[in-house]
Symmetry: C2
Subunit: 154 residues, 2 copies
């Protein structure tokens, strides 16, 4: 019987995890600024029993993630600093330990717009669709709020 040989603890010191490299947020040409990605669990070959992946994203002060949507949902918990998230047609202030649920096809973008970093854990299905970056016409069709339209970076 497998007694859990793959179980492990990944030690952390000041938001850097032992053996976990800081990567580029995305490889493609999505529009974003100052975002770093840490894959914590679910991508290594000894963690394949996980049907989901646990990642940590850190957005530098003044940075933002790409404005996008996709079918797979996100479970997010803020663990550093604060900022703002666009969820569809609304803006929400984010503080430490706030939880964000991003439901399927919901437009979203994280902003570190409070003079500090914004760091969050984000859990997703291992097998998931790629994000769509809406163009100007699609945004015009889907977003009515002037405050949100003004906030979107792309």
């Amino acid at each position: 019987m497998d007694m859990g040989n793959n179980s492990k603890v990944i030690k952390c010191s000041d938001y850097e995890w032992n053996g976990v490299s800081r990567k580029e947020y995305k490889d493609d040409s999505s529009c974003f600024k100052g975002v770093h990605r840490y894959s914590l669990l679910g991508e290594e070959s000894d963690e394949l029993e996980l049907t989901f992946q646990t990642r940590y994203f850190e957005v530098e002060a003044g940075g933002y993630t790409s404005f996008e949507y996709h079918r797979h949902p996100h479970s997010v918990v803020i663990i550093r600093g604060g900022g703002t998230v666009i969820l569809g047609d609304t803006l929400h202030e984010l503080s430490l330990h706030d939880v964000v649920y991003i439901s399927p096809n919901s437009l979203h973008q994280f902003h570190a717009d409070r003079g500090k970093r914004l760091g969050f854990l984000c859990t997703v299905d291992r097998y998931r669709d790629r994000p769509t970056l809406p163009d100007v016409d699609e945004i015009k069709q889907k977003v009515q709020s002037p405050a949100v339209l003004d906030k979107i970076k792309r």
Copy 2:
């Protein structure tokens, strides 16, 4: 098209989340002490797109979770205090933001044994098997380390 009406932010203040009740750790007769459970995402009817659940557990100083194993894996991130975790035949000290992977059938137990609380996020599959609590014979068969045997509470 669903524009993400179910997306939401759950605000947090000092490890209490808006509208999220603090529950008993378990309803059955598992042996544990001073453990509270907060279901953050994946249990409500408007979050059914999530194939996993995000929970927060808080163990009071001196408390511990039940010593158990199950087929479903755990992804854990410490977000408050520290303690110790038993993983199979080994003990690991836990500090803020450490990540724990508990692979299928791995015996495990969290202890808040450093004079402070131990709080952690724990993500699991929505559909999962129930834990097994090993009896003395099974423990004797599976655990060799005297330090671990001495640490187990049941």
